[in-house]
C-alpha cells in the first residue's frame, strides 16, 4: 500500500471512529478494532492521533480527550463535531452494494435501496446496477439466507424442504444452523440435521422453503465454516476425461488428483462421498467422461443416464 493510500485509509478510519467516542464511556479496543475492521494496534494509533485533534483555539474542551489504558480507551471529552455517522462515500456505497449482491440482493432490492437512500447522497443506483454484478440476485435465497443468519444468532431451529443433488431426492428436515459459508459464490449452511443426527452441509439454492419451528437449540460443538469435504478415507472414483470435455479443471472435482496422458486425455482420481454426484457429472459429459472405477460409480452413471432418458421420453 502506498503512503498516500495509507494516509487516506487512516483518515477515513479516524473519521469513522468519531461517532463511537461518547463522553465518559470506556470502550474496549478490540470492539473498536472490530467496528472499523482493522488490527487493534492500528486503531490504537488512530485513537492516539485523534487525541491531538480538535478545533481552534484547541483548548482542552475543544479537543478530543481520551486515554488508552491497556486494552481499553476512556473518552473524557467527545469530538467537538461530527459526532454522528456521516454518509457513505461513493466507493463505500459501491462496496456495500457489492457485498449485498454477493448475499443475493439485487441492485433494486428494497434493503439496498433503503440503505443507499439513507447512507449515501452521491451514489447513482442505476449506474451501479449497470456496471456491477457481484452475485446472482435470487429473491427466494435472500429470504432463506436472512432467516438462517438470524437463526444462527438466536439459536432457532429451522424446518427446511431440501433437494439433495447427491441423491436427486427431495426431503423435509429440521436443522440447527451453525455456520454460513460462501464457496465460489454459492451459499451453504452447516447445520446439525436432526434426521441424520449429524452435521450436514446444505446449499441454500437447493432449499425449497424454510420456516422456524419455534424451538431453540444449544450449540454443542464447534463447527468449521469450510464446505470443502475432507477427502481422507473416502473411496476414489477413477475418471477419464477426453480432450474438450466439460469439467476438466481441477476446481470442478474437489480433492481430485489429475494425471495428463500423452493423447490429451486426463485421468482423475476423485474422492467421493456420493456416487450419484460423481455419476451425474460423468453423465453430463455426454460420452466424453468415463468412470473407470468404482463399480458403484459406474452403476450410478447408468442409473442417472437411464432416468434422464426416461424423463425425456416421458
Amino acid at each position: 500500500m502506498t503512503a498516500r493510500k495509507n494516509t487516506a485509509m487512516h483518515t477515513r478510519r479516524m473519521l469513522a471512529l468519531l461517532p463511537y467516542l461518547k463522553q465518559g464511556e470506556t470502550l474496549k479496543l478490540a470492539e473498536l478494532a472490530a467496528a472499523v475492521g482493522a488490527p487493534e494496534a492500528e486503531v490504537a494509533a488512530d485513537l492516539t492521533a485523534l487525541s491531538y485533534c480538535g478545533v481552534p483555539p484547541f483548548t482542552p474542551d475543544e479537543m478530543i480527550d481520551l486515554a488508552i489504558d491497556g486494552d481499553t480507551v476512556t473518552v473524557y471529552s467527545a469530538p467537538p463535531a461530527l459526532d454522528r455517522p456521516v454518509r457513505l462515500a461513493p466507493r463505500e456505497a459501491r462496496a456495500l452494494v457489492a457485498a449485498l449482491q454477493a448475499a443475493g440482493h439485487g441492485s433494486d432490492d428494497p434493503l439496498v435501496t433503503r440503505l443507499l437512500a439513507a447512507a449515501s447522497a452521491e451514489i447513482d443506483p442505476a449506474e451501479l446496477a449497470a456496471t456491477l454484478r457481484a452475485g446472482d440476485a435470487s429473491a427466494p435465497v435472500v429470504g432463506i439466507y436472512a432467516m438462517l443468519a438470524e437463526a444462527i444468532e438466536s439459536g432457532s431451529k429451522i424446518r427446511i424442504g431440501y433437494f439433495s443433488a447427491g441423491s436427486g431426492t427431495h426431503s423435509d428436515r429440521v436443522i440447527c444452523p451453525y455456520a454460513l459459508a460462501n464457496e465460489r459464490g454459492a451459499w451453504y449452511v452447516k447445520a446439525l440435521c436432526e434426521s441424520a443426527g449429524d452435521v450436514r452441509t446444505f446449499r441454500l439454492d437447493r432449499i425449497r422453503e424454510a420456516e422456524p419451528t419455534g424451538e431453540r437449540f444449544e450449540r454443542s460443538q464447534s463447527v468449521s465454516a469450510s464446505v470443502i469435504p475432507d477427502g481422507e478415507g473416502l473411496p476414489l472414483a477413477v475418471l477419464r476425461l477426453a480432450p474438450g470435455a466439460r469439467h476438466t479443471e481441477e476446481r470442478d472435482w474437489p480433492g481430485a488428483a489429475f494425471n495428463l496422458k500423452q493423447n490429451g486425455a486426463v485421468f482423475a482420481e476423485v474422492p467421493y462421498s456420493s456416487a450419484t454426484w460423481v455419476a451425474r457429472r460423468v453423465a453430463a459429459g455426454l460420452g466424453m467422461i468415463d468412470a473407470i472405477e468404482t463399480p458403484e460409480v459406474r452403476a450410478a452413471v447408468r442409473e442417472v443416464a437411464q432416468r434422464a432418458l426416461a424423463e425425456l421420453e416421458g
Binding site: 487516506a8 454522528r84 454477493a102 454460513l180 468415463d290
Partner: protein, 322 residues
C-alpha cells in the same frame, strides 16, 4: 509536520463546527496543521488534496461564489436506518465475512461502510467466504483496479492468455464487472478490435490503469450498457444464439428460478411443470447442463439440443454397460 490524518480530521471538525462559509486562507490560518512556512502554491495544492480526501471519506463540502467553503450538512450526515432483526443479521454475517475475503475487491471500503452504518461489530456467528478459489488475492486486486477504472472511466491494459493458450496485450475501455462461479469478469470495449468482449480476470496479468490525466475520462460508457446482459450462464455464450426451452418437472419446478440466475423467462404450466425459455449459444452445453442439474430437468426445444441430450446419454450408457 503533524500527521496528515490529524490535519484532515481538524479540517473536517472545523468545517462541521463552523456554520458560515470560510475562505481557504482563513482555514490555513486556524492552526489546523498546514505548515506555516509553506508557499501559497504548495498550500493550495495541499488544500485541494485535502478537500478530495474528505469528499472521498463522505464529507460533503459546499463552495460559494467567492471560493469559500462550508460543510454541506444534508449531504454529509446519514439518516438513521431502521433494520429488522433479519436485515441486521444479513448485513452482520455476509457483509462482515466479505470484508475479510481477499478475493472480494471492495473489502477495505466495506469495513468503513460497516463502521459508518454501526454494523461493524464482529459477526457473532461462524461465517466464511471464499468467493474466488484460484489466485484469490490476484483476482481480487485485478477486480479492484478494474472497478476503479470503471468509476473513473480510464482505459485499462493487461496481458491476457485465452483458453487456447495464446497471449497478448489488450487495452480496454472497462464498462462493467461481474462475478460468476468463483471468477471475476471484466466487460469492456477492446480498443484494438472495436468490440465489447468479456475477459476472465483469472487470465489477466499485469493489469494497469491509464495514469495520464487521471481526472479526465478516456471514454464514455454507452447509455444502453448493462453488465447483467453479459453475465450469462456458460451455455449462453456461442456464435449463433437461438432460443431453447427446458422443462422442469412438477416436483422440480421451484428449482427453475434458482438455477436460471435471472436469465430467460419461466412459465408455470397447468400440470405443475415449469418451462424455461432461454437464449442459448452452445447446444451441447445446454444438453450437458440439463443432465448435471437433473433429475427432473430435460430439454424440450429445439430438436438439436434434444438429439444431443438423447445421443449423448445413449453413448454414456454404452460406455458404462458393465
Amino acid at each position: 509536520m503533524p500527521d496528515p490524518g490529524e490535519r484532515l480530521v481538524n479540517l473536517a471538525l472545523f468545517l462541521a463546527k463552523t456554520p458560515r462559509f470560510v475562505s481557504a486562507e482563513e482555514l490555513r490560518s486556524e492552526g489546523l496543521g498546514y505548515p506555516e512556512d509553506q508557499d501559497e502554491a504548495a498550500f493550495l495544492r495541499m488544500f485541494e488534496r485535502d478537500k478530495e480526501a474528505l469528499r472521498a471519506a463522505g464529507i460533503a463540502i459546499e463552495v460559494d461564489e467567492d471560493e469559500c467553503y462550508r460543510l454541506d450538512r444534508a449531504g454529509t450526515f446519514a439518516t438513521e436506518v431502521m433494520l429488522s432483526a433479519e436485515e441486521t443479521a444479513t448485513i452482520r454475517t455476509a457483509v462482515a465475512a466479505l470484508a475479510t475475503d481477499e478475493s472480494f475487491p471492495f473489502a477495505e471500503d466495506l469495513t468503513i461502510a460497516l463502521a459508518k452504518l454501526g454494523q461493524g461489530a464482529p459477526a457473532p456467528v461462524s461465517v466464511a467466504t471464499t468467493l474466488v478459489d484460484e489466485d484469490p488475492r490476484a483476482q481480487g486486486a485485478s477486480a479492484a483496479l478494474t472497478a476503479e477504472a470503471i468509476a473513473s472511466r480510464k482505459f485499462v491494459a493487461f496481458d491476457y492468455t485465452n483458453a487456447k493458450g495464446e497471449s497478448r496485450m489488450h487495452e480496454v475501455a472497462p464498462y462493467g464487472i461481474f462475478f460468476r462461479e468463483g471468477r471475476w469478469y471484466l466487460v469492456g470495449l477492446d480498443t484494438s478490435i472495436g468490440e465489447i468482449r468479456v475477459y476472465a480476470l483469472k487470465r489477466a496479468t499485469n493489469m494497469r490503469v491509464n495514469a495520464t490525466a487521471p481526472k479526465t475520462p478516456d471514454f464514455e460508457r454507452p447509455d444502453w450498457f448493462a453488465v447483467a446482459e453479459y453475465s450469462l450462464l456458460p451455455f449462453q455464450y456461442g456464435p449463433t444464439p437461438f432460443e431453447a426451452v427446458v422443462r422442469f418437472s412438477a416436483e422440480d419446478a421451484w428449482r427453475a428460478a434458482r438455477l436460471s440466475g435471472g436469465n430467460g423467462t419461466i412459465a408455470e404450466q397447468p400440470d405443475g411443470c415449469a418451462l424455461w425459455r432461454i437464449e442459448v449459444g452452445d447446444p451441447r452445453g445446454l444438453a450437458s447442463w440439463c443432465v448435471e442439474h437433473g433429475p427432473g430437468v430435460v430439454p424440450l426445444e429445439p430438436q438439436t439440443v434434444v438429439d444431443i441430450f438423447r445421443v449423448g446419454l445413449t453413448e454414456v450408457l454404452a460406455r458404462h454397460d458393465r
